[in-house]
Symmetry: C2
Subunit: 219 residues, 2 copies
């Protein structure tokens, strides 16, 4: 088990877990707001993103202090720097949840999603929520089997993203420019959310196993 | 003048400059490919993104080695970590140029841009090229006046992004779903390119001046 999870760095691990839980709540609420036209919930996601940014800043400070105080080298140093990359990715996942909430709020009282895409976007919301919960589980429980689930859910998000665009580009498809714009961006945000989740997952696996194979590319 | 630019860290500064030059060439060619339906040039941008990824890996390795070998603390340490953030942002700017090139290639032999948006996207290409050149100039010449130009060009990109969406959402606007999808994403990519440029610029100003005001948020 790698150094990030030894007692000295447990606060750092706790902060990363707090960030992951925050992201999980944010994507859950953003998805709910999008699917049920809940402007209040959307507003909450948007307002609370600042909290995630604040935790990220704390994590980054802790990483810098850990390096300065412990003067780590080799894998210990890489571990902390990988922690910085994880915090940046989680912060970005929070931004994406916020962007999704902004679409829900802007469309209110209408739905941001045309009926043609309800099924696909509902499935994207479900896969995003699942992947966010798995990230929490991976950080808190360090069960590496969860990592495979994250990759699989990202594949699902990629397929749904392709489906979403394909539906829109079929002959005879009609929708307003606003609807097409919404689908183009919302679908992209969910797809990016999955990409970041896989990046976080690979880095956590690296931290837990200390497996340096491919470690360079994770820094 | 901050530590990154002392002799010991000059290779790191050289690598960041090389990354910035690569991004500048990539956005120049991607914009040209987009505006002139040049599939060959688009393909070149896509193929060459791997080189940027390789330089990023080198930069990141150099940062880790600098920390391990020099055991820096305080501002010296922050400087190197800010270098890691700059390399990540430049790599992302290269990805955005690649995405733009992918649209040009996919639409070939047609244009990816409907006539309604030629003017706006042409202006976005120009502002993106300008901002990328300014990043090179800022890294190579350390003339802090350039930073103000970068912020101003990012404002231009934000305005053009808003114009692009507004045009598309005007009553009576008609375009194919593919055209709307293209505009929705291309416009977003240029806007994000500007955002990253401002992030890079703020961090370089921090490295050059050593001004720690707001430094926490830059790490």
């Amino acid at each position: 088990m790698r150094t990030l999870f030894t007692a000295e760095m447990s606060e750092l691990a706790d902060d990363l877990a707090a960030m992951a839980r925050h992201v999980s709540v944010a994507i859950d609420r953003a998805g709910e707001a999008l699917l049920t036209q809940n402007a209040e919930l959307a507003q909450q996601v948007i307002a609370e993103d600042a909290e995630l940014d604040a935790i990220e800043e704390t994590v980054d400070e802790r990483c810098v202090l850990l390096i300065a105080q412990q003067q780590p080298v080799g894998l210990d140093l890489r571990t902390i720097i990988v922690g910085l990359r994880i915090s940046a990715a989680l912060e970005r996942m929070g931004d994406l949840a916020q962007h999704i909430a902004e679409f829900a709020r802007r469309a209110y009282p209408d739905s941001a999603i045309p009926a043609s895409h309800t099924e696909t976007i509902t499935a994207m919301v479900a896969a995003s929520k699942k992947v966010a919960l798995e990230i929490v589980e991976l950080i808190e429980g360090r069960d590496l089997n969860v990592a495979a689930g994250i990759v699989s859910d990202d594949d699902t998000l990629d397929e749904l993203h392709a489906t979403s665009y394909r539906l829109m580009l079929e002959d005879g498809y009609t929708a307003t420019p606003q609807e097409i714009l919404n689908i183009a961006l919302l679908s992209r945000y969910f797809e990016r959310f999955g990409d970041h989740a896989v990046g976080v997952s690979r880095r956590i696996v690296y931290l837990v196993t200390g497996d340096h194979t491919g470690g360079r590319a994770l820094i």
